[in-house]
Symmetry: C2
Subunit: 222 residues, 2 copies
């Protein structure tokens, strides 16, 4: 395998910015832009040119002095770094509103994943079709995993069910979680890759920020 970066450890902050670079480059590409300087890109993205150059140089010298970066090439490189050039098999647990929305709404293939199965514990949902997949009863999870070897699980389940299910899934060889439940997986499994989507936390953070803003405006009026 090609070594993707110079030294072993890339910081979390850098990794979290990569998808955003990828999105902006996709836009530029679609708009027919061929080359871009770190300065130009930083203006569009609202960050510093220095940071862009630092970030990219964690992975290699993709630019050219005096020219800048080739949009198409840089887009491609970031895709490779993220690992979007192949897909990993994913299963979704929990076919409630949120689970169905994720299954229907999300473009998995362009983000490195392939959805291969949907599970729920509710008998009444079994067999219902979601994105072309029949919802399977959770009792069939072990057998399905042994046969199909999914690598990632998407958890759209209540917190109360998450702990036991995570244990089971890790035993079944799951290597990473996209976690929409409010259970903190990484307390028990500090080393497993998890992306938490805590929608409730996000909403509360917004609440704080909106309140601060409104309070500041009202204070300004006086």
């Amino acid at each position: 395998m090609i070594p993707l970066h110079k030294n072993g450890a890339i910081s979390v902050s850098v990794i979290k910015r990569l998808p955003r670079y990828y999105r902006f480059l996709a836009d530029l590409k679609a708009a027919g832009v061929v080359r871009i300087s770190s300065r130009e890109l930083s203006d569009r993205m609202g960050l510093t040119a220095s940071q862009i150059r630092q970030d990219l140089n964690c992975f290699g010298g993709f630019g050219q002095q005096g020219y800048g970066y080739n949009v198409e090439q840089l887009f491609h490189e970031i895709g490779l770094i993220l690992g979007l050039d192949h897909t990993r098999k994913a299963i979704l647990i929990g076919a409630g509103n949120l689970g169905r929305a994720i299954a229907t709404h999300m473009s998995f293939e362009s983000r490195g994943f392939q959805l291969i199965g949907i599970f729920d514990k509710k008998e009444s949902l079994a067999g219902q079709m979601v994105r072309g997949f029949p919802v399977r009863h959770i009792d069939g999870l072990d057998e399905f995993c042994r046969e199909n070897l999914p690598e990632v699980a998407i958890l759209c389940i209540p917190r109360s069910e998450a702990a036991a299910l995570a244990d089971q899934l890790i035993k079944l060889g799951i290597k990473g979680f996209w976690n929409f439940s409010h259970y903190d997986l990484s307390v028990k499994y500090p080393d497993i890759p998890v992306e938490n989507v805590h929608l409730g936390d996000s909403l509360m953070t917004l609440c704080y920020n909106v309140n601060q803003r409104i309070a500041a405006e009202e204070a300004g009026k006086k």
Copy 2:
């Protein structure tokens, strides 16, 4: 209004941790725990006791030397800091799968918001009931806002529609956004409160982390 913190500026990192404290304290409260030390809480949450004390002391001295923190009281205080003691009116734009899931799934009231209306540009959705609300046609947005004065908008729309809609909403007095579209609002409006939920970015970050982990495991085998 009561000054909620000692000096004006609380860092984003601190604010982002508050909802998580709030969740853990809710659990402890539910489990009947009366007091907790920063050490004990740090063990449960997987961070340092120092950080917890630093974070909390941005807002005031909620603890007691030799004793620790009163769970109920600290929970209540963090709720006040976040502003969960009153609600702000929110509208949701985009009644597709994701929008409907958010509307149905999310507990707004306990997070400082009250959903008062749902809009979509699709004629065919108009009148359909979601969480007890009829989906309204987007043409009625101006009138509805002038009458009901919502303060926050939840954007569950494609990126292509986000820019124009954000302009319109800001003119209508919207003070903050919960943004599920892939449009970067804060590039044009750097000062407006926005919480971005970039599900696609989150999934790509997971892709990177899972790939790294699997690559490391395979390297270890040799």
